[in-house]
Amino acid sequence: MLATPLDVRLLEKGMSIGEALAAFNAAHEEAGGVVSFLGKVRPDGDVRALELTHYEPLTLPGMEELAANARTRFDLDGALVWHRIGVMNPGEAIVLVATAARHRRNAFEAADHLMDHLKSAAWFWKRERRDDGWHWIEPRDADRADLARWNSPRT
């Protein structure tokens, strides 16, 4: 069962994407538009695994605040924000975001906004295991630029 209007979770194991989205959709039957984003570990060159660490007192509360802000800013009927922690293999889901709104533009922008913030402004640290060992990942410049978009005056 999903919590409404906001369902925010840290997950230590894999998620069932189809079931989650079907449940989110059913929970927001009145919304005209539902957008989802699923981020997966890319089988990229020699990346064998990915690990996400978090900091208990900050990570989930930060995600909850992010979801609540997005709900207000984009006039959402609801949002789902799920993020994996621990070790994942290529092809596995890292993050699932879904947004429901009356109009499609709000749903699109809210999902985009949530992802930009989860990527560069939520309390996670990511490292990849390659053939030569573990490497910590920092946000790319593109990720920081994506995040900065939301601080400009809205057009």
Binding site: T53, P57, V95, S120, W125, P139
Partner: protein, 80 residues
């Protein structure tokens, strides 16, 4: 009479450990002294934050941790 220092993300590798008990009370100067030059240099970076008792400090240099407090050193994040 101690404070728990937590090293998150890449700082854990630099510290060579995940956490350490240090004497309380602990302020910014004491912290810099405790962690050694490599981590001290990281802490000077504006993108590195400090949380005390589960709250991120607006001004990390104003740190004052007392007995039983947890102080987390938070390097730049990367999620999603």
């Amino acid at each position: 009479m101690s404070v728990t220092l937590l090293f998150l993300g890449p700082l854990r590798d630099l510290a060579g450990e995940q956490e350490r008990e240090v004497a309380s009370p602990l302020d910014w100067a004491g912290l810099i002294e405790q962690v050694g030059p490599k981590i001290a240099a990281q802490l000077e970076d504006d993108r590195v934050n400090i949380a005390c008792k589960g709250k991120v400090l607006a001004d990390k240099r104003a740190l004052i941790a007392e007995d039983g407090d947890e102080v987390a050193l938070l390097p730049p994040v990367s999620g999603g």
